[in-house]
Symmetry: C2
Subunit: 146 residues, 2 copies
């Protein structure tokens, strides 16, 4: 199985970042402006980009430390069965966000595209937390001309 790994360091306490990973309002500050359903374990979060987009069920939450999602629904098809984890690890100067999107069937070109795009969105999360300059869809940074 193939997987995507990223890590960014954010100058903020973990609780400030955790809120942006677990609420509709928080998630809409960095991934897409159209989000509903965020909540406790078992919730299904609907992320929408011009009407379409993935659903994820919340599988694990450890406040200010860990957020786990499992893909739910059938869009995009190659995300079916995949899981996303955010681990928060604080040191004296920053909180590291360790991101994994795992369980891909193969390291396809589309996975590679998503890997680059996840980096862009994690830097959007960093900007949103540090100074309110997140760039959620439709204001996200474009990585190609498609």
């Amino acid at each position: 199985m193939a997987e995507i790994n990223h890590q960014v360091g954010i100058k903020a306490p973990p609780e400030k970042i955790y809120a942006l990973l677990t609420t509709n309002d928080g998630l809409s500050k960095w991934w897409t402006n159209d989000i509903s359903g965020a909540g406790e374990v078992g919730s299904i979060i609907q992320f929408r980009f011009n009407g379409g987009g993935p659903d994820f069920s919340v599988t694990k939450l450890i406040p200010n430390k860990f957020v786990g999602w499992k893909h739910s629904g059938n869009m995009p098809e190659s995300w079916m069965g995949t899981e996303i984890l955010f681990e928060l690890k604080a040191d004296e100067t920053q909180t590291f966000v360790r991101f994994t999107h795992s369980n891909w069937k193969e390291a396809s070109d589309f996975m590679a595209h998503c890997s680059t795009k996840w980096a862009v969105f994690l830097l959007s999360l960093k900007g949103a937390v540090e100074n309110g300059t997140g760039k959620p869809f439709p204001n996200d940074i474009h990585i190609d001309h498609t």
Copy 2:
């Protein structure tokens, strides 16, 4: 073995991108401003960041299509044995750069850091080619506060 995958689409013909992957002057426009040794297969390219940094030997070149490097030397240690590939694939509107940094011993936090940083540098490559706005070290975008 773990690996990093990325893909960006650049509005330029492949030959313009290939030049930025195979010459000291080209590489210095997007990765680091201190580069020497770039050349034909067998060359050892020295990438330096404040004096230290990795060496890569050029293992394969197909003009305007493919660039292969293998890590050479001993810095950073966890890059030893790793390989980097750039594949260029043009369509009507853009050239896709498909990037792979493979053969990592494990998906460590440092690998995750490098994955995010590679996305930043590939977007720097995109900017350098499209409009001369590459951000090579020391003007690269920071992804943490270390």
